[in-house]
Every structure is written in C-alpha cells, then in structure tokens.
C-alpha cells in the first residue's frame, strides 16, 4: 500500500539557543515517511513535535536554532539547502497545514490570492489559469461557494472554512509530502470529523505522504498508518497504528492510552501520569527521560543510554523499562507534593 520513502529524517537534533546555550528540543530523531503513508506523531505538549515539523520545512530562525543530522527529501539533504533552494521545494513538494487557521492566514489578503500565491512561485500558469485552479481547489476542499469565497478575507470565514483554505494552500501544487501540525485541534468535533475526512480523501487521491502531528489519540487511530510517540524530544515508540493501539509497549504510550476518557467506554477513574514534562533547560540529557514519571519502577530497570530498538518488525521502542512496567494500584498516587 505504501510506496518508497520520500522523507528520511536521520538523527535529527534541533536545538534552541537560550541564554547563550543550546538546548535540544528534538533529540536524535530518525523517521521515514513513505509515499502514500500517514505517519502520526503524538506526544504531550512541548515534546518537540512542532520543532520537528518546522525543521523539515526549514522554518526555524537560523540565528536561534541549531540543526544537526540530516533530512533527506527525494535525495536532497534539506538541511544543506539555501533559503532560495528551499523555496523551490516548500509549497511545491512539501505543503504544510498549521494548527490555528485564523492566525495562519494573512488577514489583509483575499483567500484567492493566498492560495494563488504558492502557484506564483512554483508554476508558470497564467493568472486566469491560476484562478481556475484556485477555484477548483476551493471546491475540492469542500468550500460551497468558491467564486464568492475567492474574494473573501479570512475573517469572513468560519474556523472550519479557514482550515479548509489552509489545506487548499498546502495542496495547491500537489506536493508529495504534507506536514499537518495539529490541523484539527482548534476545531469542533463535527468540523474536525469533516476535516479529517477531507484530509484522508485528498491523501488517498494524491498518494501523498503525510506527517500528522496531534495529541488526540482518537485522530491518530482514525488517520494514521504508522505512529511515532514522542516524549521529551525523543521518539519513544514507533509502530504501525494497530500495533500501537492494541499492543503498546513503552510505559509512556501505555499510560497515555490509559488516561484518556473515551466516549465509547466509561471508567470510574482515569489513569494519571505522575509529574510533568521537564522543561527544555531542565531536561535530563542522559538516561531514560521517562524515568522520573514512573518512579515505582526500579531505576535499574532503565537503560543507562536508552536507544530506540526494533523489538518486532516495524515496532520500535526506546529503553528496556517497558519490559518491567506495570500500572500501580493507586491511580491517584500522583497527587504528591512538590513540583518538578
């Protein structure tokens, strides 16, 4: 079903400069996205999902960020390209969908112009053709009255409409890879469902690869082919979607799945993950980063330098602690004192 790899992220490290020191927000991440494949990245806020996505797009401010490793897209290392070379790829071969559809659109430009803009630089179409194509795109993402919407401004559209426009921008040049950073988080459930349907449909039509960033496991379950779970800048587990949901291994993945209330089943109590994600500067750089949050597991059960291991074909897990992990009886045991 999925084809050859289009994006290969290899030992990527993204570090931000804070007070003259660099701190890695994405630490040694390797990930491959194949043609026609949806790879989901999940994890708590601040674990580095967006940082990863922006690194692929080359959107980090160069003065403040250090990028190490390599990102190979169709044989080119994106990290070594100049901005103008990148500009030939961005928007054309890689499209991006941002989380907040209001702020992601220029308030002073008509919808039509914003969609056409990427064609300006990547195609040689005449303006009439561009307009034609834009109207098609608008129709394709399910906007009821494309002609009218073409001349509208972002603030005149509802959230769901705006997100459709953002998607239309991303697919304007039929990219082979789409990066969607939390595309539905700002939306209502019903609209979220529509957008997900739309994305899925487009993806199947165009056979693109998608990196889908989200924290909503429901969305992951519905959309993804493979899932990478990130914690504190690292991928802690990588597996195809069914394996991940039905045989999760890493303690973090398992805890996450346990802590979500679901509309389908009803539990008396939810599982709670102790503590909080350490901030970038306070993050331990050696040892298992999840260690502090499963304190009831003996320290010796963690690897000193945990690596991502393929435990089954296609199923990768970091650290050995998963073999020893169990849920404690007292679920609210976390309500401990102190702040980490």
């Amino acid at each position: 079903m999925t084809g050859k790899p289009i994006l290969e992220i290899d030992h990527l490290r993204v570090s931000f400069r804070i007070q003259d020191q660099y701190y890695a927000a994405v630490d040694d991440v390797s990930l491959t996205v194949n043609e026609n494949e949806v790879v989901a990245i999940v994890g708590e806020s601040g674990c580095g999902k967006s940082a990863l996505a922006l690194a692929v797009m080359g959107l980090h401010p160069p003065q403040k960020t250090k990028l190490e490793g390599s990102i190979t897209f169709k044989g080119m290392n994106l990290l070594s390209l100049s901005t103008s070379q990148l500009n030939k790829i961005r928007g054309k071969d890689i499209g991006m969908i941002f989380q907040d559809p209001l702020t992601a659109l220029n308030p002073l430009m008509t919808i039509g112009r914003q969609i056409e803009e990427s064609m300006d630089y990547h195609t040689k179409l005449s303006s009439a053709e561009k307009r034609q194509r834009t109207l098609e795109l608008l129709k394709r993402v399910g906007i009821p009255n494309p002609e009218k919407t073409y001349h509208r401004y972002p603030h005149e559209l509802s959230g769901g409409m705006r997100q459709r426009v953002v998607i239309a921008i991303a697919i304007a040049c039929e990219p082979s890879l789409i990066i969607a950073d939390e595309p539905t988080t700002a939306l209502d459930v019903t609209i979220q469902a529509q957008i997900m349907g739309l994305l899925k449909e487009l993806q199947q039509q165009m056979k693109t690869g998608i990196i889908l960033i989200t924290h909503d496991l429901g969305v992951v379950a519905e959309m993804a082919d493979r899932v990478a779970v990130m914690y504190a800048g690292e991928i802690v587990e990588l597996a195809d979607v069914e394996t991940l949901f039905h045989h999760p291994l890493h303690p973090y993945t398992r805890s996450l799945l346990q802590s979500i209330p679901s509309a389908q089943t009803r539990k008396e109590k939810l599982h709670v993950i102790q503590g909080i994600v350490p901030s970038l500067q306070k993050m331990p750089r050696t040892g298992c980063r999840f260690q502090s949050r499963i304190s009831w597991i003996d320290e010796s059960k963690h690897e000193p330098n945990p690596i991502l291991r393929e435990v089954e074909p296609g199923h990768w897990v970091r650290c050995t602690c998963y073999q020893h992990f169990y849920f404690p009886h007292d679920h609210i045991g976390d309500v401990g004192y102190g702040i980490s």
């Binding site: 959230g159 924290h215 949901f245 702040i339």
Partner: protein, 308 residues
C-alpha cells in the same frame, strides 16, 4: 425539589450599528433554555463552539445579566436580586475556569489567591486564615508549603487544583466548570477529572459541567443537555444520550467523535457518512424554517428532545 432551576433563560448580546451606534440587533446567545440540576449530580452541557454554553454558565453565576427568564437557586430567583442581596448567594455558586493560566492572578501568591473569598466573606485572623487555606490546599493535594509560591511555579493541573481550592473555601453548593480541562494536556487532564469526582463526593457538590469533549462529558456527567444555537436540542441521562440519541443533531455530534480503535476506522467513517446523509435529509424535520430548534418535548421521564 430541584436544586437549581433555570426557566426560560434568555441572554441576548446587543449588536450596535447604524447612525448613532444604536442597538440594531441582538445575538441570541442563549435563547430560551430551561433545565434543572439536582443536588449532588453532574450536569453536562455540550454543543459546538458558540452555541451559548459559556454564556449560560456565566449568567447563572451572575457575571452576565440575563435578558429574561429566571434562575432559581433553592427557590430564590437570582435574576431578581439586587447586587447586595446577590452577594450572600455568591458563596453558594462557584466557578472553575477553563484556563488555569489566566484564572489565577500571576502577581498573587497562592495564599492570597485562595484567601481572597475568605477575606471577602469572613473576618479571620491571619493565622486562622492561613490555617484554612492550608487545609484546602492539602485537600486538593498540594504541599501546604506551596501557599507562598506564585502560580507560575505550578503545572497546569496543579493550577487548576488551586482554582478549585479557591472555589471550595466558600463551601459552595454548586460549581460551574466551564471547560475545566480543555486547556490541559491529556495526562494532566486525567488528574483534574479524577480529582473533581473525588471532591464531589466529599463536599456534596453539584456540578454544571461544560465541555465540548464528549469523551469527558461521558466520563463525568449523570445528565447531559445538548445545546445548539442557544437552545437545547436534547436532554437526558448520559446513558440515553450516548446510546439512544433521538435528535439528528445529537447523532451527528456523537458520530463525529473519533474512535480510538484503529480497527473500527472504516465503520466509523461509514457511520459518519450515514449520519451526515440523514442529517441533510431530515434537517427540515428537526429544525424550523429559520433553522431554529423546536421546543423540547419529553419523551420519557428523563429524556427530552426538540422535535415539533
């Protein structure tokens, strides 16, 4: 007897315009809703964005003036009270806010934040006050030492608990929780939800729980009201709503919830399409000519639906 009864509540926001910035129209944020809460239960209010959930909550607690209708708290109509009279009812209703960041004043120590209502309503010596604050802070599972800290030194979940502690100091009977966890990370969200359930028992609280996340609503609520454009489309027990939804809008809402089982993906998509088709087809049966919802009709002791 109902503990809180909302009767034909209407809240309209004026829309100004025209030559002299006169009121030319109203946004009917809440347009004639009635429901009641019983002592000790959790009542869920669900609906899409902008349907009037927050407005309802804030009107009950008195932050927004009702345009019409009554809000009866144990028989007293809160909308008819003067500011002064309302003051004494303040204690009975408290609120947990959506955003744990903006709902705690960043410039105040936890002690001052939690003591604020105590200072307003009781005259306590500083020692007593501190003891009381410490009691509550321990009750919400925080270190008593932390009363000298500032909000930014806490995580989102902890902050939300500070907010809850503040609400609890007045011994309220009703707590309105407006999306109390939607700003929180999944893992932290669980903490707060568990905790809310726990204190409900302990303090005999009644919750009006507002959320758009049906998973959470299902987890928390005994009874649920579904809102659409300022009106109720359906009201019933959790069981009824989730398993026997009657209104087409409810069905649509439920079908939109992503299924956390990847194996069910296909079915879920199909179901959604079906419901969508049905929604389009039957739209006119469920909504009147102006696209408004019909008045609620009881179809069982606990279950009402807005059908003509």
């Amino acid at each position: 007897m109902a503990f809180l009864k909302v009767n034909h509540l209407k809240v309209y926001y004026p829309v100004r315009g025209g030559f002299f910035r006169r009121i030319v129209d109203y946004v009917k944020a809440v347009d004639d809703i009635s429901f009641e809460l019983r002592q000790g239960e959790t009542y869920g209010l669900v609906g899409e964005s902008g349907c009037g959930k927050t407005t309802t909550g804030r009107t009950i607690i008195g932050l927004i003036k009702a345009t019409a209708g009554e809000i009866l708290l144990e028989g007293t109509d809160l909308t008819k009270l003067s500011r002064r009279q309302f003051y004494s009812y303040r204690k009975d209703i408290q609120m947990i806010f959506q955003d744990p960041y903006s709902s705690l004043n960043p410039r105040k120590r936890v002690l001052d934040i939690i003591a604020e209502p105590i200072r307003n309503f009781e005259k306590l010596s500083p020692q007593e006050e501190k003891r009381k604050v410490q009691y509550f802070i321990e009750r919400v599972g925080l270190n008593p030492e932390s009363i000298y800290k500032y909000p930014h030194e806490f995580s989102g979940g902890q902050r939300q608990r500070i907010g809850i502690a503040r609400a609890l100091t007045l011994n309220p009977k009703l707590i309105i929780a407006d999306e109390p966890v939607s700003a929180l990370d999944v893992s932290v969200q669980a903490q707060v939800l568990n905790f809310m359930k726990e204190i409900q028992k302990e303090f005999q609280l009644t919750y009006l729980f507002i959320s758009h996340d049906l998973g959470i609503i299902r987890h928390m609520c005994d009874r649920i009201g579904i809102m659409y454009r300022g009106r109720f489309v359906e009201e019933g027990t959790s069981e009824e709503i989730f398993h026997h939804p009657q209104h087409i809008y409810t069905k649509r809402l439920l079908s939109a919830i992503p299924n956390a089982d990847p194996r069910q993906r296909r079915q879920q998509f199909q179901l959604r399409e079906e419901v969508e088709r049905e929604y389009k087809q039957l739209y006119h049966r469920y909504f009147d000519d102006e696209g408004k919802v019909h008045p609620l009709k009881k179809i069982s002791e606990t279950h009402s639906v807005a059908i003509p």
